[in-house]
């Protein structure tokens, strides 16, 4: 299997006042294409920072983040935006939909940024909303949707440009158990279709969907495999 994500001794230091905080402290990690990786850890453990580094939202202080064979350190800001748009899909705990746009338009946004033609956009958005089971909500604004539905719109948006990697930051954190299960099943379905998933959570129930689990504490991987879940 091809290694789609490769982290080599990644360090991220934040300066808070005069103090240096090691948010990520020497993490090395490989994720194969089509794998489902779960990063577990308590809040403040550095798991979200790690996800941001994989997601090209931030650059490591040292070490390398290699996506699909590309060393992201060598990319310009504009090229990083290209990677985020073409290869990555983000799902956030807070959904982060644009409140002024309808569900349809929220899903449309990444395609617009990519320059997908109008007809193709329309066809694909409706298909994605159908897969997510929210086709009837296409014309509604986020404020008119339940949390579970908003998160499903967000998943559809993340999938809009056929990403190779889906990055999920506590995707069920704001949802009740039932909506959470729906969301997780949808993410798992994408994984089964071949999309690589990296998911960050503190919830052991969610980790069960993953085939590979790492536990992180103080910016370091402290356990791998089944023992990392609990």
């Amino acid at each position: 299997m091809r290694e789609i994500i490769k982290l080599i001794d990644v360090v991220k230091i934040y300066k808070i006042g005069s103090e240096s905080v090691y948010a990520v402290n020497g993490v090395s990690l490989n994720v194969s294409e089509g794998e489902f990786l779960c990063i577990m850890g308590a809040s403040g453990s550095g798991k979200t920072t790690l996800l941001s580094l994989i997601g090209c939202l931030d650059r490591p202080t040292s070490g390398k983040v290699i996506l699909d064979g590309i060393d992201t350190n060598k990319l310009s800001e504009r090229e990083l935006a290209d990677v985020r748009r073409e290869k990555l899909g983000f799902i956030f705990q807070q959904y982060h939909l644009i409140p002024t746009l309808t569900a349809f338009e929220n899903v449309e946004l990444p395609m617009l940024l990519k320059g997908v033609p109008k007809l193709e956009r329309k066809r694909k958005i409706m298909k994605l909303l159908e897969i997510m089971g929210i086709a009837e909500a296409a014309d509604r604004k986020p404020s008119e949707l339940s949390g579970g539905m908003q998160q499903r719109v967000a998943i559809a948006r993340a999938l809009a440009n056929d990403p190779e990697i889906l990055l999920c930051d506590e995707p069920t954190g704001n949802l009740d158990t039932k909506s959470g299960e729906v969301v997780m099943r949808l993410i798992k379905e994408q994984n089964e279709r071949g999309v690589t998933v990296v998911l960050v959570t503190h919830d052991p129930e969610i980790a069960k969907y993953a085939e590979k689990v790492v536990r992180i504490k103080d910016g370091k991987i402290i356990a791998e495999g089944l023992e990392a879940i609990y």
């Binding site: 939202l57 800001e77 504009r78 935006a81 985020r84 982060h96 644009i98 990444p110 940024l113 990519k114």
Partner: protein, 387 residues
């Protein structure tokens, strides 16, 4: 879609957006209305001179004096008759008037008063002035200006005495606007023959000549001809084109209009500050959204464009409304100050409407740039985490 997104973002806080638009409307309207008014003021003033632009005045070279805007000549100095005849035979001359003029005392009933007396041919008087009462006749008669008649209570048939000569008033002229050739309002006009009789100036030549050329472009040609043939060896006459005055007036009023518009521009400046303010607030409120846009792959330049577009929409709406309302504004100012709106519907009005709208748009773009730039410089991760 970008347009839609921008438009919706503005609608999200419609009161704030409307107030910003109102600011632009007021600014654009102030500038354009004042521009329109100044242009109309200029046109009103120029209309007084419009009929004298094909006129050229010729004075003896060494006797040109200006006093209170009126050209006066020393009574000792004349354009001799031979020179005068040569001038009016030059090409480009359509018609002309020889004028003799002096200041003297006259009396009516028991009242003695200082008055300007012109000697002119009947043809010239007819060409230049219209009577408000009576008929223009100059043999042993005179015509008097409107103000003089009004002050002395003169009627057609009244008799005034000038230097011992009794003259019958044959006509009272209509009130004239400011002129640079003959100012009849406070004057008496007699025939050249009577003038010579009264003032003993037979054979002495003329104080000045008014020449009308065929068309405006002939003015400079005629002037050149005079310089060459009359002033060739000795500078005998001074040529005074009224076009110069028109140009001067144009310049002065353009300056006045720019000055007034600059003052009106302050209101646009205030509107610009309000745009700056609301766009900065909007940037702050939407920090997280900007982070999301960046996370899904928007370039910084895309964010910049989106925010600029929002300012531009505000500016467009405000400028268009402001420009349209400026016709109304111009109408009111014209009515109040000029008491006439006959120049309102003209090309210059359209010009100032466009100019106002242009300044409105420019202001919003300038003041919208900083917030847009600031939004585009946010770090994606920090923006996403912003609470």
């Amino acid at each position: 879609m970008y347009f839609q997104l921008a438009f919706r973002n503005l609608k999200r806080n419609s009161l704030r957006s409307s107030l910003a638009v109102v600011g632009i409307v007021i600014g654009v309207m102030a500038i354009a209305s004042i521009g329109i008014f100044s242009a109309n003021l200029k046109m009103t003033i120029l209309s007084n001179f419009q009929n004298v632009t094909d006129e050229v005045l010729i004075y003896p070279a060494y006797t040109l004096h200006f006093r209170h805007g009126v050209v006066t000549t020393s009574s000792m100095m004349y354009i001799d008759r031979r020179t005068a005849d040569r001038i009016v035979k030059l090409p480009y001359v359509k018609t002309y008037a020889f004028v003799k003029s002096t200041f003297t005392t006259a009396s009516y009933r028991d009242e003695v008063f200082g008055v300007r007396v012109y000697g002119m041919s009947k043809k010239a008087v007819n060409r230049m002035f219209k009577p408000s009462s009576g008929f223009i006749r100059l043999s042993d008669s005179c015509v008097v200006g409107y103000d003089l008649a009004d002050r002395l209570d003169l009627r057609v048939g009244s008799r005034i005495e000038v230097e011992g000569h009794s003259l019958r008033v044959s006509a009272i002229l209509k009130k004239e606007g400011a002129r640079f050739d003959v100012n009849p309002n406070d004057a008496i006009i007699v025939s050249l023959r009577d003038y010579d009789k009264i003032f003993n100036t037979q054979g002495k030549g003329y104080n000045f000549i008014v020449v009308w050329v065929n068309s405006l472009k002939d003015v400079s040609l005629f002037k050149n001809a005079v310089e060459k043939t009359i002033n060739g060896r000795v500078k005998k006459v001074e040529v005074f084109e009224l076009e110069i005055i028109i140009n001067k007036i144009n310049k002065i009023y353009d300056f006045v209009s720019r000055f007034l518009m600059a003052i009106a521009g302050i209101s646009l400046l205030v509107a610009g500050v309000s745009i700056l303010n609301i766009m900065l607030m909007s940037t702050l409120e939407r920090t997280k959204e900007i982070g999301v846009m960046m996370a899904i792959g928007a370039y910084r330049s895309t964010i910049l464009k989106l925010f600029l577009l929002e300012s531009l929409i505000l500016g467009m709406i405000g400028s268009v409304i402001g420009a349209l309302l400026s016709i109304f504004g111009g109408y009111i100012v014209d009515i109040m100050i000029l008491h006439s709106t006959k120049y309102l519907l003209s090309l210059t009005t359209v010009y100032y409407m466009f100019e106002g709208a242009f300044f409105g748009l420019a202001t919003t773009l300038i003041s919208g740039f900083y917030p847009a730039w600031k939004a585009s410089r946010l770090e994606p991760l920090e923006a996403l985490r912003y609470e």
